[in-house]
Amino acid sequence: MRTPFPFAAIVGQDEMKLALLAASVDPTIGGVLVFGDRGTGKSTAVRALAALLPPMKVVAGCRYNCDPEAPAGFCPECRARAGERKLKAQSVPVPVVDLPLGVTEDRVVGALDLEKALTQGVKAFEPGLLARAHRGFLYIDEVNLLEDHLVDLLLDVAASGENVVEREGLSLRHPARFVLVGSGNPEEGELRPQLLDRFGLSVDVRSPDDLATRVTVVRRRDAFERDPETFAREWDKETGRLRSKIVSARRRLADVDCPDTVLETAARLCLQLGVDGLRGELTLMRAARALAALDGARAVDLAHLRRIAAPALRHRLRRDPLDEAGSEARIERAVGEVFGP
C-alpha cells in the first residue's frame, strides 16, 4: 500500500475536512457525501483518513472488527468464543474500506468460501467488505455510478447496522456499522433521493480559484509525488495534533451541552427551509455538537450551528426542478433570516 497524502496537508476545502472530522468524532451523524468538481482531492481526503484516525481496539483475530469492550454487539464467532475463554484485544488502524467499481455482490455481503468448499468440502462463510468496514468507513468513489442493486443493499445495511446473509445455504448475521462516505461528480448523473437521504452531511467542493491556493496545491502535490515518505514525515507533527484533537473531541462529546436556544434555532432553520422529517434537525444537532467538541467548547453555540447548517441541510431540500436559484442560495437566505446578518 502506498503512503497516502496526509490529511493535514490538504489545502483549503475546509467544509469537506470539517464534515469528515465531524463524522469521525460522531459516527452517528450518518455519513458524508462529497460532490463536486473534478480534481479537487475528494478521494484524496477520504483515503487520507485511515492514516489520520487513532487506532481502535478489536478482538484479536476477529474477522468482523468486534469491539472487545462491547460484548453485546459481538459477531457469532466472538460470542461463541467468549463463552470459552477471555478474548484478547488488539490495536488496528480504523478501516477505511474502498468499495471499488465493478464490485460484485458476493464481495460486498460476503459469500461461501469457495476454496474451503472445493478443497475441504467445508461450508464456511467468507466475510465481505461490509464486515471489513465495521466500526470504520465505507468509501464509494463515483457513488452515482453504483449499480442500483448494490445501492439497495447498502441502504438496508446502513439503516439496520447489521448484515443479514441468506445465500448458498448460509444463514447468518453480523454487525456492520460504518460511516458511509460517497464522492462523485454531479455531471455524471444525480443520486437517487433515497441514497441521498442516508448521508448525514453533504459537501460541495469546487476547484480553488485564487492563485496562491492553487500554487500551494500544485507544489504540495508535486513534493508528495516525488517523495511520499519524506513528505508524510514532514506533516507528522500536524497529523498528530489533528489526531489528538479527534481523540479528545470523542472523549468530550457526551458532555457537550446543547442548549434549548440552539435546538430552537435548528428547528426554525429546518422549518424555514421546509426540510422533511426530523432527520435534518437531528443531524444538525449532532454535527454541531461534534463541531463544538472539536473546538474544545463545553456547549454548542449558534456559531457551530451556522457553520454546519449548509452541509447538514443542502441535500434535504425538496427539489424544485424549475427553481434556478439552487439549494445553495436558498440555504444562505434562510441562514441569513434565522441567524441575522
Binding site: 467499481l101 464481495r107 459469500a111 476454496e115 472445493l118 463515483e142 455510478l145 455524471e188 448523473g189 517523495d227
Partner: protein
C-alpha cells in the same frame, strides 16, 4: 518535429505521471505512425494492452480464472487487463464511445495507480501504474471523450489537424535517451516560480481543474529530463504550457500590452514556439551542458517574467477554432459549459444488459450461466454426492445448482419533441403544444429521461435544445420559440431521424414525438409548394422508419386529416389525432402512448 511526436516522447518518459494522451483523428496511417513512434521510444518489453470495446469487468479488472480454478479445484485469480498493463500503456480505440462505467474504471486506476478487485470471491489489489492513450474517433460535436478522462490525460493530440510528419523522418530521441530521462526524472527540481507560472497561465486561460497545472508541471519535468537538465527552465515550462494547458483553454487570455523586449510577433507564432523546442532538442543531443548558456544568449536585456513567457507559449498554441467556438458560446449559453449536459448524458445508457446478481434456473440460450455461482451452489454438496477423492474426483453438478446471471436491460431514453411552429400550427395550437411539452418535461425529469427539442418553421428545422436533462434550459428555450411561416416537414423528419440515431448510437433509446398538423408546404431545398413538399415528407418518413426509432405523431390540426395518418404509418409511428385538446389532455395522451410503446 511536430508537437504530436514531442508529446509521444514526453509520454514515454513518464507514462504514469502524465496520465497519457487523448489522440483525436480517424483510424489510419497518421495514427499508426504516431503509435509506432511512441512504441519505438518505450523501453523494450513495455506492456501495451488494447482495450476491446465492450470489455467486461472480469477481463478489465480481473477475476476468477475459471479453467484454472476447475482444474486446480481451488480459486485461481486471473489478472485483468489494467493490472497487466502496469508500467505500460492501455490503448483505447473508439474512446469516445466508452461507457461512463468504463471511464470510471480507467480514471480510478489513473488516480490510484492500482486496481482494486473485489469480485467473484476475490479480494486483491494489483499495481497498475499506467498511461491511457485514448483514440478519439468522434466526428461530430456529440461524440467527445468523457471529460473525467480528458481531465487526467496530459496531452491532447489532434492528428486530423494536418500537422503531418514525414513518416520517414527520424525521431529526435532514442529509446536510450528516453530511458535515461526516465531514470533522472526524480532528480529534476522545480522552482516555485515554475509552479506559479503554470498556475497563473491555467487561470488566465480559464482552466478550472487543478489537475491541469499539475500535469503541466510533470510534463515540464519530463521535458527537462529529456534534455538532460536537472532543473526545469523557462523552455520546459513553455513546452508544458503549449502541450498541456493550451488545448484546455476555455477563454483567451487578456492581451498584455506588448513588452519592449518581447519578440515582435509574440501573439501568434507557432513556428517560433517550434524553434524553441528544436533548440532544446539540439541542446539535448549535445548532452544538455550548454542549455543554460543558450537560454541566456537568446535573451538580451531584462528577461520577461516567467509567467508571461509561459502564457505566450500557451497562447500561441491555442487551437484556431477556439476563437470561433468561444464567440458562439458567449452568445448562446449562459451555462458554464454547454457540453456539461452531454457529458453526463450516457450515464444510464450503460444499462444495456449489465449483470445485476444471479438467480437459480436452467440455461435456456437467452440467460447466461454464471459458472462461479453455480460452483458455489454445488460445492457444499460434493461430500454428500459422493465425489470420492477430492483430488481426483470430478465435481458433480446438478440441475438445481445452475445459477443464471440476471441482466438488467433498462436503457436510458431520450424523448425528442419535434414541434411544428409554422403559421398554420402556430395560430391554433402552438401554445398548447408548448404547454404539453412543458408538462412532459416535468415527467421526464421525474424519470430522469433526457429531452431534446426540434422546431420547424419557415424554410428549415433546427435543434432548439440538444438532448439534455436540464429542465430549466429546455423550458427557457421553449418559451422563446417563435411561430409563423411555412411547414418544412421533410427537413424536420430528417433532423429528428438523425438525432434519434445519434441517441441510439450512445446506447440509449429514443422516442420521437411529432406535434404537427402534417401539412407540409416547404421542400428541403426551401421551395414552397404543397405537392412536392408532401412527397418529400413521405420519403423522409420512410427513411425515418428505416432508422427504427419509435415515434408518435400527434395531429394537432383542428380537423384530423387522412394524410397525417398516412404520414404516421409511413414513419412506422403511432398516430394520435387530438383535435381541440388542451395542454393537459395532450400531455396525458402522449404519456399513455409512450408507455405502451
Amino acid at each position: 518535429m511536430s508537437d504530436a511526436l514531442l508529446a509521444a516522447a514526453l509520454l514515454a518518459v513518464d507514462p504514469a505521471g502524465t496520465g497519457g494522451a487523448a489522440v483525436r483523428g480517424p483510424w489510419g496511417p497518421a495514427r499508426d505512425d504516431w503509435l509506432a513512434a511512441l512504441t519505438a521510444l518505450l523501453p523494450e518489453g513495455t506492456p501495451l494492452r488494447r482495450l476491446p470495446p465492450g470489455v467486461t469487468d472480469d477481463r478489465l479488472l480481473g477475476g476468477l480464472d475459471l479453467a484454472a480454478t476447475l482444474r486446480a479445484r481451488r480459486p485461481v485469480v486471473e489478472r485483468g487487463l489494467l493490472a497487466e498493463a502496469d508500467g505500460g500503456i492501455v490503448l483505447v480505440p473508439m474512446a469516445e464511445r466508452l461507457s461512463p462505467a468504463s471511464v470510471a474504471r480507467l480514471t480510478a486506476t489513473l488516480d490510484t495507480g492500482s486496481v482494486v478487485v473485489e469480485r467473484d470471491g476475490i479480494a486483491a489489489r494489483h499495481p497498475a501504474r499506467l498511461a491511457v492513450v485514448a483514440f478519439d474517433e468522434g466526428i461530430g460535436e456529440d461524440e467527445r471523450l468523457a471529460p473525467p478522462l480528458v481531465d487526467r490525460l496530459a496531452f491532447a493530440i489532434d492528428l486530423a489537424a494536418g500537422e503531418a510528419d514525414d513518416p520517414g523522418a527520424g525521431l529526435a530521441w532514442s529509446r536510450d535517451g528516453v530511458a535515461a530521462a526516465r531514470d533522472s526524472l526524480a532528480e529534476v527540481t522545480a522552482d516555485e516560480a515554475v509552479a506559479t507560472a503554470l498556475c497563473e497561465t491555467a487561470t488566465a486561460l480559464g482552466i478550472a481543474s487543478i489537475r491541469a497545472p499539475l500535469l503541466a508541471l510533470r510534463v515540464a519535468r519530463a521535458h527537462a529530463a529529456l534534455r538532460g537538465a536537472t532543473r526545469i527552465d523557462e523552455g520546459d515550462a513553455a513546452v508544458a504550457a503549449r502541450l498541456v494547458l493550451a488545448p484546455r483553454a476555455t477563454r483567451l487570455p487578456a492581451e498584455e500590452p506588448p513588452r519592449e523586449d518581447a519578440p515582435p510577433q509574440e501573439t501568434a507564432s507557432p513556428p517560433q514556439a517550434d524553434d524553441s523546442t528544436n533548440d532544446s532538442n539540439d541542446s539535448m543531443d549535445d548532452s544538455g551542458d550548454d542549455s543554460t548558456n543558450e537560454s541566456g544568449d537568446s535573451m538580451p536585456g531584462e528577461p520577461p517574467p516567467l509567467a508571461d513567457l509561459v502564457l505566450a507559449a500557451a497562447r500561441a498554441a491555442i487551437p484556431p477554432h477556439l476563437l470561433a467556438s468561444l464567440r458562439a458560446s458567449s452568445v448562446a449559453a449562459s451555462r458554464p459549459s454547454p457540453a456539461a449536459g452531454r457529458a453526463g448524458a450516457p450515464k444510464r445508457g450503460t444499462g444495456r444488459g449489465r449483470a445485476v446478481g444471479t438467480r437459480a434456473g436452467r440455461p435456456d440460450g437467452r440467460a447466461r450461466l454464471n459458472v462461479l455461482e453455480t460452483l458455489r451452489a454445488a460445492a457444499p454438496w460434493q461430500g454428500l454426492r459422493g465425489a470420492t477423492d477430492p483430488r481426483t474426483g470430478r465435481l458433480e453438478i446438478r440441475a438445481d445448482d445452475f445459477r443464471l446471471t440476471r441482466v438488467k436491460q433498462r436503457t436510458a431514453s431520450t424523448t425528442i419533441f419535434v414541434v411544428d411552429a409554422s403559421g398554420s400550427a402556430a395560430l391554433s395550437r402552438l401554445a398548447e403544444a408548448k404547454g404539453a411539452v412543458e408538462l412532459l418535461l416535468a415527467d421526464c425529469y421525474v424519470r430522469r429521461d433526457e429531452v431534446a427539442l426540434i422546431a420547424f418553421r419557415g424554410t428549415a428545422a433546427e435543434v432548439v435544445v440538444p438532448p439534455t436533462r436540464s429542465l430549466v434550459r429546455a423550458k427557457r428555450c421553449l418559451a422563446g420559440l417563435p411561430g409563423g411561416g411555412a411547414t418544412p416537414l421533410a427537413a424536420a423528419i430528417d433532423l429528428a431521424g438523425a438525432m434519434a440515431r445519434a441517441v441510439v448510437r450512445k446506447g440509449q433509446s429514443a422516442n420521437v414525438v411529432f406535434l404537427t398538423d402534417g401539412k407540409a408546404n416547404m421542400t428541403r431545398a426551401g421551395r414552397p409548394g404543397s405537392a412536392e413538399a408532401e412527397r418529400e415528407a413521405g420519403a423522409a418518413a420512410r427513411l425515418f422508419r428505416a432508422g427504427g426509432s419509435t415515434a408518435l405523431v400527434v395531429d394537432t390540426s383542428p380537423r384530423p386529416r387522412p394524410q397525417s395518418e398516412q404520414l404516421a404509418r409511413e414513419m412506422g409511428a403511432r398516430y394520435l389525432p387530438l383535435p381541440y385538446a388542451g395542454s393537459h389532455e395532450l400531455s396525458s395522451a402522449i404519456q399513455a402512448s409512450t408507455r405502451q410503446s
